[in-house]
């Protein structure tokens, strides 16, 4: 009946599982290695500090300063999180703690639809709505003249894009907390808001941090929508109304072109390497926080 006997089948199964596990576990390492080797040309000739903190980007004359891209990425990501995180947290609390259950049933498909929209569509929407909104209303309101293509535009588009991802996780996290915990707090005479703030949010904290970390990583890596509205100007933005440039946009805009310039190819690989290292770093920080706050 069987070609292999039981022991052999067991062995084969086990081996495949171990191999699959190894592939998954070492994938980041190989990614890292590949990118490192590819950007070695650049790293060999330039001081790392000069690459990371150099402000001048003129590949034609061999000037590779990544600082404007790094700053652009950080600005856009953090601003998007600052806008998105509180909204998501309050929305998740409202839907799971205050609203009637049928709202949750409507919310779920709505969120899934939002999550499924391709990022180009968000980008287009940003060009059609957010960019003019900034140049016509928001800029003048703060006394700034701006074309609208800016750090702020990218952050706004991003903040909307990451809402479904963060919100979905947050809702699941709050739903997983037993209602008896809230009842225990209420039974001690706490108000609903006190119970939510001091008990429910505290219980959910590791999950909240994970959700925010997930959103942050997504925002940091998002390419298309950002590239369409951020302006793609290599300079250090002085305010959020200034245009900027991000690392993913740099790679997507230039890879496959201008590769005749020496070391350009290597420089783009280095940009990818920075992206990878930063997202690994985010992950580590996130895990640290989760472990730190998972004590209760």
């Amino acid at each position: 009946m069987y070609i292999l006997n039981r022991w052999q089948r067991h062995w084969v199964n086990n081996t495949w599982m171990i191999i699959s596990l190894l592939v998954v576990a070492t994938l980041p390492f190989f990614l890292f290695l590949g990118l490192y080797l590819k950007s070695f040309l650049l790293l060999h000739d330039y001081h790392l500090g000069h690459l990371l903190f150099g402000k001048i980007w003129k590949p034609g004359i061999g000037q590779f300063g990544f600082f404007p891209f790094i700053v652009g990425s950080i600005w856009v990501t953090l601003l998007a999180m600052v806008i998105s995180a509180p909204i998501c947290l309050l929305a998740a609390i409202y839907v799971t703690q205050y609203s009637k259950t049928h709202l949750l049933r409507i919310m779920h498909p709505a969120i899934d639809i939002l999550a499924g929209i391709p990022s180009v569509v968000y980008g287009l929407w940003g060009i059609l709505v957010i960019v003019p909104f900034i140049s016509r209303y928001l800029g003048p309101l703060f006394g700034v003249t701006t074309v609208g293509y800016s750090i702020l535009a990218a952050a706004l588009v991003l903040s909307i894009m990451i809402v479904p991802f963060i919100l979905n996780i947050l809702i699941e996290i709050f739903r997983a907390i037993p209602v008896e915990l809230k009842e225990a707090s209420l039974a001690l005479g706490a108000t609903e808001w006190q119970s939510i703030k001091q008990v429910m949010v505290k219980k959910a904290l590791p999950g909240i941090i994970a959700a925010f970390g997930f959103g942050l990583a997504r925002a940091f890596g998002e390419t298309m929508a950002v590239l369409m509205v951020v302006g793609n100007v290599v300079e250090l933005p002085k305010s959020v109304f200034d245009p900027g440039y991000t690392l993913p946009a740099l790679i997507a805009n230039n890879y496959g072109e201008m590769l005749s310039i020496p070391k350009y190819d290597s420089a783009l690989m280095f940009a990818a390497l920075i992206l990878l290292v930063v997202s690994l770093f985010f992950n580590l920080i996130m895990h640290f926080f989760i472990i730190r706050y998972n004590r209760y």
């Binding site: 915990l181 009842e183 001690l188």
Partner: protein
């Protein structure tokens, strides 16, 4: 009986949509006694307890009508200060749900809600209530540890201490020993017998022997109705209703 009636429930009905969970409940629970509520699963015991501290408010689908008078005040009247009212009742649930904080803060949380502000006062009271729940000796060196690290039995005693810390007059306990080992259960039972001098205790249990051991007054419920109520001896030795006989005889299904 000449006891004071601490809790008087009259014509209490609870509906969940068309389904009626509690039907015309009329009971009177004596002060400084242990009242045990008995009944098969799903008959509405937990719902009855939740009505007494208005946790039913959390469930918009539930409609509650009738009167629950505690020391004379109808707590179902909308105007009552619901936070004061809940502080008058310590709740002990089926499984312990320690708050996500340290052992110390689990007690201090309720003290602060009660309005105790001075740190020294809080500290004194935390020690006092931990002692009351027979937990002090075990946790005196680990007060700053997360409460979730305690064993289940210890957690349940912590929840008892937490409930006592808001200085209630009534203790509502919903099968408080069902998740505990025999020793921890005995602890809680023993504690209830001591506490009844100062508190009115309402206990839901499925363990008939436990009921017989510590109850003064018994309420037997079936499918949302109160079938029989009375002194523990009357109900256990001389049940008037057929259903009560069957349930106490263990041949009920």
């Amino acid at each position: 009986m000449t006891d004071n009636k601490k809790i008087q429930i009259s014509d209490l009905n609870v509906f969940a949509g068309k389904f009626q969970i509690l039907k015309n409940i009329n009971i009177e629970l004596p002060e400084n006694k242990i009242t045990v509520i008995l009944g098969p699963s799903g008959c509405g015991k937990t719902t009855l307890l939740k009505c007494m501290n208005r946790l039913t408010d959390l469930y918009p689908e539930l409609k509650v009508t009738g009167d629950i008078r505690i020391s004379g005040n109808n707590i179902l009247a909308a105007r009552e200060d619901i936070y004061k009212l809940r502080q008058n009742m310590g709740l002990l649930s089926q499984r312990p749900y320690p708050l996500p904080m340290t052992i110390y803060n689990n007690i201090a949380y309720g003290l602060k809600l009660r309005g105790v502000k001075k740190r020294r006062e809080i500290h004194k009271l935390v020690v006092h209530y931990l002692q009351q729940a027979n937990l002090w000796e075990e946790v005196r060196t680990r007060l700053r540890e997360p409460a979730s690290r305690l064993s289940i039995g210890q957690q349940q005693r912590l929840c008892l201490a937490r409930g006592l810390a808001v200085s209630p007059g009534i203790i509502l306990a919903d099968e408080p020993t069902s998740a505990l080992d025999p020793i921890s259960s005995q602890y809680i039972e023993q504690k209830f017998l001591e506490l009844k001098n100062d508190y009115t205790i309402v206990l839901v249990t499925h363990v008939l022997r436990q009921a017989r051991r510590i109850a003064d007054y018994v309420v037997f419920m079936y499918l949302g109705e109160v079938i029989e109520q009375g002194d523990v001896h009357e109900v256990f030795e001389n049940p008037k209703m057929e259903k009560t006989k069957l349930y106490l005889g263990g041949t009920f299904n």
